[in-house]
């Protein structure tokens, strides 16, 4: 295994573990779902690195296409429970980027 291959693997694995922790620790429902969708996409890359393209294909289709849609639908169904959606301009979050411009 080459050095740059290792760099890629370590970056990937570290990101995966970090995403898993963040997705599960996050209180905001929608945010943790987005983190999980990102996790699913990266898992697919991990299968590639484990020379399992068969699994990578299935994971790509299911992780990106179906699980994500199911979870987002569920989040829409239960919205407001964990994160209020900004609906009007006076919602503090809606202004967007007041802090990180």
């Amino acid at each position: 295994m080459t050095v740059s291959g290792w760099t890629f693997d370590i970056l990937l694995v570290a990101t995966l573990v970090w995403l898993a922790v963040r997705a599960l620790a996050e209180i905001k429902l929608f945010k943790s779902i987005v983190l999980f969708i990102a996790f699913g996409l990266l898992v697919s890359l991990a299968w590639v690195r484990l020379s399992a393209p068969d699994i990578a294909l299935a994971e790509a289709a299911i992780g990106a296409g179906i699980t994500g849609a199911l979870l987002l639908d569920a989040a829409g169904h239960m919205r407001g429970r964990a994160e209020p959606y900004p609906v009007s301009s006076d919602t503090e979050e809606a202004a967007g980027g007041e802090d990180d411009a």
């Binding site: 959606y85 009007s88 301009s89 967007g96 980027g97 990180d100 411009a101």
Partner: protein, 99 residues
């Protein structure tokens, strides 16, 4: 020689991806970030595809990568439009330089 050009093109592509991510991080609101995402990343992927095409074994592989690129462009443009529309109809206020 061809290898060098191909690597150079891929590096340019990677730079566009980095610039796109920089935009997504630095730009002030969701609309401007969508600009960075749709334009810079699609161009970055274009350069990566171009660079890899120079190394490809056959024309069919080049065409296949171009199809993949076209699909990503369509997806990116549509997703940008939809997310921007959702944000606008939900009254997410755009950032303004003045006022």
């Amino acid at each position: 020689m061809i290898d060098a050009i191909s690597i150079a093109l891929i590096i340019v592509g990677a730079l566009f991806f980095l610039a796109g991510s920089a935009g997504v991080l630095r730009f002030p609101d969701v609309y401007t970030r969508l600009h960075a995402l749709t334009k810079a990343d699609n161009l970055g992927l274009g350069f990566v595809v171009l660079g890899l095409s120079l190394r490809a074994d056959s024309w069919v592989v080049v065409l296949k990568m171009l199809i993949i690129w076209a699909l990503v462009i369509v997806a990116g443009a549509t997703a940008g439009h939809l997310v921007a529309e959702a944000a606008r109809t939900s009254h997410v206020v755009p950032w303004r330089r003045r006022s």
